[in-house]
């Protein structure tokens, strides 16, 4: 669900810096926009971005974004919508706060847009290509490895957690059927999961060091992802868009 999904969409083929720049732009612009309509327009843009990553990326990003956002929307609705300030709107039996709802929509929309943007970037950026891009830019191996490992940590943890849960069941632990119960069973697993992962990292660090990973020389990128003029232009344009968005925000605050 969360993590790289292989594909051939334009986003997949784009330079990793471009995809990440898009996600970062969504994040920054989200905080610059203050009205519900603008924010939800951004959500639509993020959704279009996710769609351009291909059907699978769209489905999994939307699903994960909804799963993460729904509880927050509910909370915001209660906090601001039901318990907010005057003036109030009457909607059937319920009375909602107008400014409260506006605020809830802005905050909720922001989170949704940001999550969608990042999940799309995550889904369309292969850790391998990102590492090659960073290597070609001269980023030292340690940092690239750290970033790439973070991207792959979730699937590895998930596999490990599943194995340990199976082993526990085979020793008599009864796990309730519902996903929530399964999540609860993961609590005491946190420590062994982390320790197991650390023990593996220990060995991995030694092995990689012996293959020259820690050396001072600048690594040769073997397959640097192709960058292009238009893509660089897009990244600059995103930067400009972010600056314009903040400019507009501050101009509106003054006036």
């Amino acid at each position: 669900m969360i993590g790289y999904l292989a594909g051939r969409s334009p986003l997949h083929r784009a330079h990793p810096y471009t995809t990440l720049a898009l996600a970062a732009a969504v994040l920054l612009v989200a905080f610059a926009l203050t009205r519900p309509l603008e924010v939800w327009l951004l959500v639509a843009v993020a959704a279009v971005l996710a769609a351009s990553g291909g059907g699978e990326v769209l489905r999994s990003s939307v699903r994960a974004a909804l799963l993460l956002s729904l509880p927050i929307w509910a909370l915001l609705f209660v906090l601001y919508g039901l318990l907010g300030a005057e003036p109030r709107l009457a909607l059937g039996v319920v009375s909602l706060s107008a400014p409260g709802m506006a605020r809830a929509l802005v905050l909720g929309g922001r989170i949704t847009a940001i999550v969608l943007g990042f999940l799309t970037a995550l889904g369309t950026t292969s850790p391998h290509r990102l590492v090659e891009a960073m290597t070609a830019s001269g980023v030292p191996f340690g940092r690239t490895f750290l970033l790439a490992s973070t991207l792959t940590v979730l699937p590895r943890m998930r596999d490990r957690a599943r194995q340990i849960l199976e082993a526990q069941q085979c020793r008599g632990l009864r796990i309730g059927g519902s996903p929530l119960a399964r999540l609860g069973a993961l609590g005491p697993l946190a420590l062994p999961l982390i320790l197991g992962a650390l023990a593996e990292v220990d060995e991995q660090v030694l092995a990689l060091d012996a293959r020259g990973a820690g050396g001072g020389a600048r690594r040769t990128a073997l397959e640097a992802p192709p960058d292009s003029g238009p893509q660089r232009l897009v990244r600059w344009a995103l930067l400009v868009a972010v600056i314009v968005a903040y400019g507009w925000k501050f101009w509106r605050m003054r006036g």
Binding site: E200, G215, L222, E223
Partner: protein, 251 residues
Amino acid sequence: MTAVMALEGVAFRYPGAAGEALSGVSLGVAAGEIVALAGDAGAGTSTLLLVATGLAPRLVGGTLTGTRRMPGRCGIVFSRPWTQLTGLCSTVGDEVAFGPASLGLAREPVLASAQRAMERLGITHLAMRDPAHLSGGELQRVVVASVLALEPDLLALDDPAAELDPAGADALYGLLPALAAGGTAVLVATPDLERAARVATRVVVLAGGHVVADGPAHLLEGTRVAAIARAAGCPPPYPPDVPSLLRRVGP
């Protein structure tokens, strides 16, 4: 024979440990030798490999006394194939090229080193495969190739066939004589005394962090065959494998 790697009077203590993991260890390995390191759990064989390759104390911490001479390059192979992968390469070719790429050489020499290493290990047919989808045996050969791509003078292996099936294990140990013939010094720590006996030119036995024996293969008394010979009244030295036992059986 000049030693490619020499330890003299080496003692090593892990950080925070009460006792020494190695004491008074002197060991030399020359080019072309295959030295098997035998010893029970806790005897210090893995520690000795880390010290010999310079990973201890540099990355592991701890204190080292005594002398270590290793002017050339070292490579090390551990027992679990998947924890030795970078996890960042989508093809075997890239994985093997990782080592030379780290040296900052130009693209052509990097790919040439990788190609040579894959040929030595007989895995050129796997070059475009995804390491994540290989079997344990194939993966371990990729790991060895990745280490060899840097053309180390000393190749250390810590129980390299532990996770492999017999065919994979045989294949792995079967590679070592060719590697040694190519001039690499090979140091392999393993509880698999049967396979070690087949390829080792020399055996070093550790116990409690000390070297207790250093000599020809028949020192591997822990093999099943040696145990049978001993129980059947054979006088020492006990034959470590079936052919040597059969040679000792009288008319």
